[in-house]
């Protein structure tokens, strides 16, 4: 164990379950915790103590062997030296790790759509959008944090849906069944115009998972359908001349047999 310096730097200790039980049994009072902090401490199962009390608990946990304490990090900041948080970790892990009270929030990225709406999204969502990620990589970290990244081809409505998709996809990807069900639900909730605009946005931002999902959905709608049905379904204008059409129909008459009924299913 490293010795304490004059400035009373307190070491953060990894306390085994046994030691944790001992520390709890020593009935350490919780001091100087306001209501807010108390609520926080309870929600994260964190016990916050004064340095002196931390010392007391430290003496009780001297049983920790040298090997166990080799990798214990030393508290570097003054704030850390004032407070020592002993966090109770899940029972599956056989160690309780001391952590600082202020947990660092995940970095966010600002995105500005073509209709002027600004979105603040988590960094991992921005990473899913390869175009945005490339922009972040190209510009310095400071600049990208300060400026909203302009998305010239994406409207607010589409971006909101994409963010929703990324979040839901992450939740659903625990099991293959859930994921399939989620993708079907997501696609079913879109009408054709929304799907078209969303696939354009997904292509522009290069959001691979969403692009694949929407492509599958559209391909499914096209499969084994007559040309007339596809035109009608997607509202596509036939720009072939009557002669071209007749010639094509004659050459490929075989292609017009055995197609599905012109229904949406």
């Amino acid at each position: 164990m490293a010795k304490e310096s004059g400035s009373s730097k307190i070491e953060m200790l990894e306390i085994s379950n046994e030691a944790m039980a001992e520390a709890q049994s020593s009935k350490i009072e919780m001091l100087e915790i306001n209501n807010e902090a108390m609520a926080e401490a309870q929600s994260s199962k964190t016990v916050t103590m004064k340095p002196a009390e931390a010392e007391e608990s430290k003496t009780e946990t001297q049983k920790i062997t040298d090997e166990e304490s080799k990798n214990v990090p030393i508290a570097a900041t003054e704030e850390e030296s004032k407070k020592l948080s002993i966090t109770k970790v899940e029972e599956s892990k056989n160690a309780a790790t001391a952590t600082t009270e202020g947990e660092k929030e995940e970095a966010k990225v600002s995105l500005k759509t073509l209709d002027g709406v600004t979105f603040e999204v988590e960094a991992w969502i921005a990473k899913e959008m390869e175009t945005v990620q490339a922009y972040i990589d190209d510009t310095s970290a400071d600049t990208s944090a300060a400026i909203a990244i302009p998305l010239h081809n994406v409207a607010g409505r589409e971006l909101a849906r994409m963010v929703e998709y990324c979040k839901e996809h992450r939740r659903a990807s625990v099991s293959a069944g859930n994921l399939k069900e989620f993708e079907e639900r997501f696609a079913a909730a879109l009408n054709l115009y929304e799907m078209k605009d969303l696939i354009i946005a997904a292509n522009y931002l290069n959001t691979k998972k969403l692009l694949e999902s929407l492509s599958r959905c559209i391909a499914k709608a096209i499969k084994n359908k007559s040309v007339e049905f596809v035109r009608d379904y997607f509202g596509v204008t036939n720009d072939y001349t009557t002669e071209e059409e007749a010639q094509y129909r004659e050459t490929n008459a075989w292609a017009f047999r055995n197609v599905d009924e012109d229904s949406r299913n």
């Binding site: 054709l192 115009y193 292509n203």
Partner: protein, 329 residues
Amino acid sequence: MEDNDYIRRWEDLDIDILVKIFQLLDIFELTSGISRVCSAWRLACCDPLLWKTLDLSMLRSNFIKIPLEPFVYVDGRSDRTLTRILKISLSLSQQSIMTLIFHFNLYVSDEQLTYTAERCPQLRRLVLPAWNRIKKPGMCKAIRGWKELESLTMPCIANPPYILEEISTHCKNFSELKIMGPCDIFFASSLAAFLPKLRVLSLRCSMLYKDVLILILDSLQHLEVLNISHCVLMEALPAPQQKRIIKEIDVTIRQKASRLREFLTCMEDSCVMCQRTRTDEGLIRWYKYEEGLWKTDEGECWGYSLQNESNAIVFVRCGRLKFCTAMSK
């Protein structure tokens, strides 16, 4: 349609988005009218990304076997279907096809092969496991058009020199050959004479004589990969015995094969594929087995275990040789 400047129409979708969608469609859907929806969709249908490979392995002829040459009679309707699919796909592909795969029960005619060859000048890999209906001039004409050809899957044929000679003359980058049928001494000596620079040779699931194998190992000095997995390895003996099955690779062959990068073998009694080759007397009847199995080749799937219904094939490295050992489930 919503009256908004921002709203885009389906025909105005970027070509690359349409291509991504069309990549999920099979050959029948691509050729059955998608290109006729509008000119923008036709343009997307012609994208080279969709046509790197023309896989017709789901298409087979409706045929009956007959005792006279070409030994098969193909129903006219299935012939016309193939012609139409070839016509449309070769028109849309605009000469960008690099891999062409035919089913082993798809009997292509001379005209169909010639038509295809003229429209696939960039072809690198051809899988053509049955060519009963193709005459010598048709085959030669096709090969002359495929100057970039590197890999060929072919059936065992009675008169191999002419085709191997054509390949050696016109396909300068040719390096891979897979024969779906027995390889005799005549075929092996033709290989040695016309394709001495062959790098990959697969003879899997066929009958193979020991002297043929030795000839291949001695004469193909540039050979890097040899696959004789699930072959029935035979040895010719003096009368009255005539021949016997060899149960394991002997030292002579091991020594000769030690220079190869990969030597794939499997002669296990417990291996389902080996059992099938023996049952079919060295000329495996693929139609009896799992669909797509005929296309598999251990040399292409190195490092993976190939799963089928009844066995898992695992590759084991043994010194510089690679052996394919099969484990029954």
